[in-house]
Point group: C2
DNA sequence: CAGAGCCGAAAAGTCAGACTTATATGTCAC
DNA sequence: GTGACATATAAGTCTGACTTTTCGGCTCTG
């Protein structure tokens, strides 16, 4: 999914990023570039590059004569896909999953409403195909196949909305759905009602019925939130 | 608002970032680190740090033997506040402003609904104060004072929602509102209906009426979208 | 002529060391 | 106590040499 080993500084980030987002260094903690470089056994140049990246994510702040101080959580760039991945891999995965699901519940219905007005014929076809794929994999413990089509479905909706901000949430939704399937205790087969709703959304979008697409999608996200309440109270 | 001169690499970014987001280098363009370093009259180390930051924003991709290639727009981290600022400062400001306003229209109503259920007494007080401030500055060409209270109002709503993803959009909303006031041709006095709606939202939140807060906020954002249609068709 | 494999050059990547600059903090005089 | 000043510290910058990857062309072969 991401790019694991893109240079030495990348490997440093793979350890340091998760550590910071996991709260291993409490906000206000001070790190020193030289010490970090020694600890990771890399040159200072490499370490500096890593720090710059963390800084651009607002995870840390580098100040002369002080060092690299960890910022409080509320200042992090929580929409950075990398940060999202790190946090989903860490201890507060459940909390993060809930935040993102609430975000979905706000965005996706609106996106679906817009998609109904703007989706191309090709996108409508893709949507139907995805929905059918979900139906096909909805029974018999075939969660992996179901997941693939589920992700694709929501990606198409977000892309078809014509709004770039919505479209870029495709990756986030993918992470959430994957996380739900793989790590939360999910039912062995997906909720039949949800499957039906997806099919109906595809129909509504094809028919250009924005209000209906929005309402149906709202039901999907409400269901997702409810499921989260039941399985991870 | 941001941190303008945080080192040499920051100053490089201040010119290179806007240039890329403005589409000055079409997707696929190849830059060379050494040339850039020469052009900006900085050392390679500094240039490399700048490139790393751009890379973490998914604006460019650095590959051996190839160079630094500009990524297509659809891959950018468009939620990065820095990227948002750069784009708002550039040529496609109107387009960007519209995207962000649509985003607001999806998020803020839901946030207001949640805020009604979770806002602390202090937050309710702040909200009322902001609304009153808006009323006080709603006449007599006092747009600046109005803007300050408008921004504060929406910040509080987003924060009070209790969702960190919503809360972090405070800066984005601030940019949008500021951009609207300063650069789009805004009416000399704000829409009285909008002012009233803000007061009513504050009341609804204080009363704990989520559905009403959500609906009223929806009206605010619909108004904002409509205003955008009228002023920047 | 096509495909596999080899080779060289180009550009990023890495490192080490010396130097500069800002700045937090302690010290001292008043 | 308060101000100015000195000092130590850690980030910031620059340079030059070296390493590593990999693209693109070349040749060799079938």
């Amino acid at each position: 999914m991401s790019t694991p080993g893109r240079g030495l500084h990348g490997r440093v980030l793979d350890t340091l990023g998760p550590a910071i987002t996991a709260g291993e260094y409490p906000p206000g903690s001070v790190l020193r570039t030289d010490e970090l470089a020694q600890h990771f056994e890399v040159s200072r140049s490499v370490m500096r590059e890593a720090v710059r990246v963390l800084e651009s994510m607002h995870l840390v702040e580098s100040r002369r004569r002080v060092g690299v101080t960890v910022r409080p959580k509320c200042e992090w760039n929580v929409y950075d896909p990398q940060v999202i991945r790190w946090r989903l891999a860490g201890a507060d995965r459940p909390h993060q999953l809930r935040s993102l699901t609430v975000l979905r519940s706000a965005i996706e219905p609106v996106a679906a409403g817009l998609a109904a007005k703007q989706a191309t014929a090709e996108q409508c076809a893709e949507l139907t195909e995805c929905a059918l794929g979900m139906v096909a994999h909805s029974r018999g413990h075939r969660l992996e196949g179901y997941l693939v089509h589920d992700i694709a479905f929501h990606r198409v909706i977000l892309a078809a909305s014509g709004n770039e901000m919505f479209a870029r949430l495709g990756d986030v939704v993918a992470e959430v759905l994957a996380g739900r399937t793989h790590h939360e205790v999910m039912f062995e087969d997906p909720d039949p009602a949800a499957v039906t709703l997806h099919v109906q959304v595809a129909e509504a979008v094809r028919a250009g019925d924005g209000a209906r697409a929005e309402e149906l999608t709202r039901q999907i996200t409400v269901g997702a939130l409810h499921e989260l309440d039941v399985l991870a109270p």
